[in-house]
Amino acid sequence: MILECCDLERSFGGLRALKGVTLGIEKGEIFGLVGPNGSGKTTIVNSITGFYPPDSGKILFEGKDITGIRPHDVARLGIARTFQNLALFRGMSVLDNIMMGRHIHMRPSALASLFYWVWAERDEIRQRELVEDTIDFLQLQDVRDLPIEVVPLGLQKRIELARALVSEPRLLILDEPMAGMNQEEKEYMARFILDAREERGLTVLLIEHHMDVVAALCDRMTVLSYGEQIADGKPAEALSNPRVIEAYLGTKRRHAA
């Protein structure tokens, strides 16, 4: 069990965004987190990554209690995420944006940086190699040097994924990585997620709206509705659960004939 969330509760004023959610993700799994808008998916992610600590409940990462730890410390522990509404740095090149993901692994001392050519250069080259490996993996070579503003949205999502990957996480949290993408871009992204797991032995927590994607990619999933866990298990089982159908399509009515 790489990540366990026990009985998470979180309220924003009078709104109970999470009502006792419990989930466990096995190492190497692609775990889907699904639910209609406002069902609390992103709140769970924000709890895990320390943006909004839960009001009650416990979060264990690799057996260690990380409840309430601050975001940058969570990143150091080996959890990386992408954002639903892109959070890339404008005014920087694609390459520099991806390099930011290496930030947590860089330990430049003032002295080493001062004598760059003697000490810091070798480390910088090693970091760049790791980044280039990911650029090659995600096929971003042709946009490498472009400013982030001119890159199409579908590619920006991929760049965010690249930035998350270069931090060499053990758990990758993807918050709607395919929002606003066309079919071809979705297929690319799905392929990259599968390859990332295969090649880097990642565990992935995937938040997604596109049911076809979730059903095709995820090993197991949890469905949320209004902060409540309404189904768990393999995609086929979870998605055929009447409560899930109801949450998505409204109450089923019987038609004559």
């Binding site: 760049r128 993996f137 070579q141 042709d142 490498r144 390859d195 295969e198």
Partner: protein, 661 residues
């Protein structure tokens, strides 16, 4: 060297299968002492072992292979293939974009006297199956997972290839199929074997003979099934030597290898000339980064198709339009001057002193920076071929100070038959035959070739070989003539010469190319054989017309809708009218239709090299063609569309017919 080709008496070439007469072929023993690409490679490794032979941009860095590195990889892979049972006459399918290892693998297969058979990376499955069967491809070399998937699919249908070797292991870790091996593993095994068996290296270097295949290429097949063209070592080496003799290539040139590996030009330039003339071969990171990498490399010799030159010109024009006021002014003043100067020069006049001084200033201010921006600052020799290049584009780049020249050739003659030479460039000719190449025109106006670089036959097709090489001359199937200065003019395919009902003779491609010189027309098909007058099916260029529509406030949602806008019809009619002015009145295009989709290789309307498949077009657009001649003003059209998933659908529309008054 070359007997007076244009006045040489025309020998009887009797089309109906006249037997190949060896006595008539002076070249029959030619090149037997020329060695093979493998032995030349070994020689390079010996004399220039530490010189860079190949550069590949990988992970953002240019990585270099010296001639010794190349030889060692080629031998190691050959040793491993040999150990796995690759025998003389076996085929090695090579599929992917340009990668050093794919080139090395081709040489390894050639060293083992097999058939290295490169195929286009986007080859349709049926064609791939045909190539695999024709070349008995028990082995295949694939660039990456995508290509491996294709080969595995092929194996499930055709039992071939038994062994698939891949270059890039990404995504293949969990594949458990038998016979799937990584390049690195094989190289390791090959190197171990070479270390164990001391005589093996020499054996591999000397095993192939000059008369063995250096490569097996499949002709694009504008008509019928593709044919396998076998090019022997001595032929491809002769082609490189001829090109050198014409100062077309020079020893030590820097070359960018980015054109499809399955195209004869890439093999002759990159591999055979690359080895015979010791080029430095530069391989871009990806197809998408070619222009970017071009600037880093600044090759000394550069080849691009007419379409790429057009695209580059558009790139410059767009860049200038978005540039600063000063740069625009400089460009708009100096560029027309240079083009005018170039026109004068081509007409054989010496420009005045003032123009020459102005050109020298312009060179510092704008021409040289532009050349540098395009990555062509060192490209003293630039080439184009494949189809006619537009006059505007041609003049532009020549005016910019590039010695852009056209050449002419075919797969069967290692791509190099005739070429324009510096100082002797004429707009409508492809130049004189290269040294070592004889060209003759027969009674039907067909271009015949005799040279050491001409191939020796199609694989598994004796009848076609006999026909193609009847009388010891290569029958190109191209129609043309020699002009008064001994320059070759190519009109089109002999089989394409057609007659209207009134007996007017014309070649559709020739007219279509004139239409396509307009930026607004991407493709066109001329109809008129046996009819009273000519008509055209037109595919507009989405980018150019789309931009025009934007500027002129014409709204549209799709290609199909844009093509049917009356404003667009008016625009295209202007282009057609202009072309009509250049044609004899009897060959004027009287009506045309804008098609609701582009011609697409996936739909079979054009080949991968974008040549029209007329039979497909005639069949698919038969109702439109009928309507064009029946006096209708519109026509209902259903087009068949193949989606990327392989599913098919139909698109139904009413198309307008435009009549030029």
């Amino acid at each position: 060297m070359r007997p007076d080709a244009n006045t040489a008496e025309v020998i009887d070439v009797g089309g109906d299968g006249a037997a190949l007469d060896p006595a008539a072929v002076p070249r029959v023993d030619a090149g037997l002492d020329a060695g093979t690409l493998v032995s030349l490679l070994a020689q390079n490794a010996k004399t220039h072992g530490a010189t860079v032979a190949v550069r590949e941009r990988d992970r953002g860095i240019w990585r270099e292979f010296t001639w010794s590195d190349v030889l060692s990889e080629v031998l190691a892979f050959a040793a491993a293939l040999d150990a796995m049972g690759f025998r003389s006459g076996d085929g090695l399918l090579v599929i992917g974009d340009n990668r050093p290892r794919l080139y090395f693998g081709m040489l390894s297969a050639a060293a083992l006297r097999g058939y290295p058979a490169p195929v286009y990376p986007d080859v349709p499955p049926d064609d791939l199956e045909y190539y695999a069967g024709n070349s008995r491809a028990r082995f295949a070399l694939a660039e990456d997972q995508e290509q491996v998937d294709k080969l595995l699919e092929l194996r499930s249908r055709a039992k071939l290839p038994e062994v698939i070797v891949y270059d890039d292991p990404r995504g293949l870790a969990n594949y458990t199929e038998p016979g799937l091996l990584s390049w690195e593993d094989l190289i390791r095994k090959g190197k171990e074997r070479l270390a164990r068996e001391p005589g093996l290296s020499d054996d591999l270097i000397n095993r192939a003979k000059p008369t063995d295949a250096a490569v097996l290429l499949h002709s694009s097949g504008t008509t019928g099934k593709p044919k396998g063209v076998v090019l022997q070592h001595r032929r491809v080496i002769a082609a490189a030597r001829n090109a050198e003799a014409a100062d077309y290539f020079r020893a030590g040139d820097e070359l960018m290898a980015y054109l499809p590996m399955a195209w004869v030009g890439d093999f002759v330039f990159t591999v055979s000339s690359g080895i015979a003339l010791r080029f430095t071969i530069n391989i871009p990171e990806r197809q998408e980064t070619v222009l970017h990498n071009l600037r880093e490399v600044a090759p000394t010799v550069y080849f691009a198709s007419p379409r790429s030159w057009d695209a580059m010109l558009t790139h410059v024009q767009v860049g200038i339009a978005e540039s600063t006021w000063l740069k625009r002014r400089l460009y708009n003043w100096f560029m027309p001057l240079a083009i005018e100067l170039e026109r004068e020069r081509l007409a054989g006049r010496t420009p005045g002193l003032f123009s020459r001084i102005a050109y020298a200033i312009g060179d510092v201010l704008i021409y040289a920076p532009l050349r540098d921006y395009l990555g062509l600052s060192r490209a003293k020799r630039a080439y184009t071929a494949g189809e006619a290049i537009g006059e505007d584009t041609f003049l532009f780049f020549r005016a910019l100070g590039l010695d852009l020249k056209q050449f002419y050739g075919q797969t069967e003659n290692c791509a190099l038959t005739a070429a324009q030479s510096s100082g002797e460039v004429k707009l409508n000719t492809v130049g004189k035959p290269l040294p070592g190449v004889e060209v003759k025109i027969d009674d039907n106006g067909e271009i015949l070739i005799r040279a050491d670089s001409v191939f020796d036959g199609f694989l598994n097709d004796e009848a076609a070989t006999q026909k193609s090489l009847a009388g010891g001359w290569l029958h190109t199937g191209d129609a043309g003539y020699m002009d008064d200065d001994g320059h070759l003019v190519v009109l089109g395919r002999v089989g394409e010469v057609v007659y209207t009902k009134g007996g007017e003779r014309y070649i559709p491609t020739y007219i279509e190319n004139r239409l396509k010189f307009s930026q607004y027309i991407k493709d066109a098909a001329i109809i008129g054989a046996g009819r009273d007058y000519l008509t055209a099916l037109v595919c507009i260029d989405m980018n150019a017309v789309g931009h025009w529509a934007e500027v002129n406030g014409v709204t549209y949602t799709s290609y199909a809708e844009l093509s049917q806008r009356p404003e667009v019809y008016k625009l295209i009619s202007g282009v057609v009218r202009h072309v009509n002015e250049l044609l004899p009145a009897a060959l004027a295009i009287r009506k045309f239709v804008n098609l609701p989709k582009e011609f697409d290789p996936d739909d079979g309307e054009v080949t991968r090299t974008r040549k029209l498949r007329r039979n497909v077009i005639d069949e698919r657009y038969a109702p439109i063609i009928t309507a064009l001649y029946d006096g209708f003003e519109t026509v209902e059209h259903e087009s068949l569309i193949t989606y990327e998933t392989g599913a098919t659908g139909t698109l139904k529309r009413r198309l307008a017919i435009y009549e030029l008054k």
